[in-house]
Subunit: 193 residues, 4 copies
């Protein structure tokens, strides 16, 4: 059993893989936040098992409620859009951290390209999320071209990170984030015409 | 019972308030992701009840795993740091969307200041999250001053949004995000010396 | 004769149009910075006449010297690249300011789309400039797709601003910045294969 | 005589130091742009001698005209504000390029801290310039705290770059940009109360 140090609390224990006994019990039920603590209720990030080798964590997001209450007509499925934006935002964050983690490795030489890809992908994802968040006079041509740039950046960054995934866990996690983001952008692109 | 349209799936139903029967059953257990769907597994955002008036949603984040695997020594509790970064990132996203939602309202006049605060807070939060994500030669003076700017931006933006919370749900949600972010930044600041 | 208030100094007077007597004298000579003042030598921005209706100003940039001294091979003409990056950076800045100036106008209603285009174009330009600034493992596919998104954003934003150019001088200036940026990106794209 | 390759044209020759014969002739006259070329008029960047060891270049900016035409009351000298914003924007750009140039050096080890400072300073400057560009409901507390963070980032980044200035010309140029930016921010801060 592997626990993410520091994330585990009385209400939230992160467990790796299939050894989690509660797993079958709550499978298929909605994830439920423990009641907010009396203080420290900003700790919105929670570790969760995902049945595999990776510890997944989740964080509170307002993207879906914000889109739900947006007064403008939005010609895209709002739930898919909210999920896509969050995935892109979190990919940007993963790339920023992977660049820094690579830079901290003892042997930076083989990671130079990875750092550059991470920095490019972080900026491109951040901008793409913002473009997708604005619907007052939404311009589908801008959204499409920026999404296409995002797909290309995620492909390139994900491929580079994957080459170092065996050596560096942060590259493996970042490659996963890029892959999720690439797919989310492609699926959204398919609905934008 | 209020369901966030489109977010609800067979595995994840968002329910407002106390009417959720599973709530007591799983209280105290770790939140568990439903098994990934055969396709569309990028839909990482999930609606969750929080026992109050607000539908909360969560999204997958790699921030905690990325920090866990960072090779540099980090003189801050990594779990708190990861949670704080995610809270700041999501506040930035909420502010970007609130600015756009305000701009889409019929009466923009009373929301002009709110839009400006949202845009400032979005940029300041985005930069603060990045500064906190870099630990290769971490400079505590930079981190502290940027965190202080973030606290002030969140206070100002949150107060402005709160003034429109009764009229505009997006302002209410954004005010909450700013408030969470402000507290998270203050608590992190208290540990940075 | 129209002078940009505050920018004019004993060493640098901004004059509109053909009435500048020094113009023929120094035509063809390199522009020369006045000797730095004893203090306040940070005032790197200078107003210059451009023979037409617009007061142009210039600011000190390090982009060309930075690219000149970059140790990596760069398969693009460095002077063109530096000029393009600066044009993109300054377009981003113009768009940020146009969005805010539009928001300050008494009648915001007709400017809502313009504000959104400005915000999108500001973010896209900022990211494009950063991508073009990184040459450690330069990925031409990323650069091309981000440049294409930049061209589309500048076209769209420039066209929207041009519709308000008669009413709002800031929209006219921003439309010019977008037009210059669009052309610079197109010319750079033509050299990237 | 050192010419910046590619930037020099018939109308604009960059010459290092005191060997420029035209210097005394045009000293004290306003810098004048050569007439726009028939095509390629996007090449807004020009190399200029500054009487010392550094080739300075200038680029067209719309910041001053944009601020001049801003409809809101702005309680700051608009010319100083415009010059400060441009200096901050260009410092951000220099830092982005210095981070990449450092990463391209053969020996990255001693430059790790410099890269991190550059990335932080680039983000902080970019955000500071945006905050200073928004005057629809300007919040002086936000502006002041973000300017203070910018001063600290520029001090820290400039000091780190200065340590590598003898070895790496890009670090020397970036240190100068940070120093100019720090002073500009301090002078603006002194006027903001």
């Amino acid at each position: 059993m592997t626990v993410v140090p520091g994330v585990a609390t009385a209400d939230s224990v992160a467990i790796r893989g299939a050894s989690c006994p509660e797993r079958s019990v709550v499978r298929g039920r909605p994830p439920v936040l423990p009641p907010p603590a009396a203080h420290g209720d900003y700790r919105d990030t929670q570790a969760i098992p995902n049945g595999g080798n990776t510890i997944m964590t989740m964080t509170t997001t307002s993207t879906a409620p914000m889109l739900e209450t947006h007064p403008a007509p939005i010609g895209i499925d709002r739930a898919q859009l909210a999920a896509t934006i969050d995935t892109i935002v979190m990919c940007s964050q993963a790339c920023t951290m992977c660049a820094d983690a690579c830079l901290s490795e003892e042997m930076v030489g083989p990671l130079k390209t990875c750092i550059t890809r991470d920095l490019d992908c972080a900026d491109i994802c951040a901008t793409t999320a913002r473009v997708l968040s604005r619907h007052t006079g939404f311009d589908i041509a801008i959204a499409r071209s920026q999404l296409e740039a995002c797909v290309i950046a995620c492909m390139s960054c994900g491929a580079e990170c994957a080459m170092h995934a065996d050596m560096h866990e942060h590259c493996r996690v970042c490659a996963e984030a890029c892959s999720r983001c690439e797919r989310a952008c492609r699926e959204l692109l398919a609905t934008l015409r």
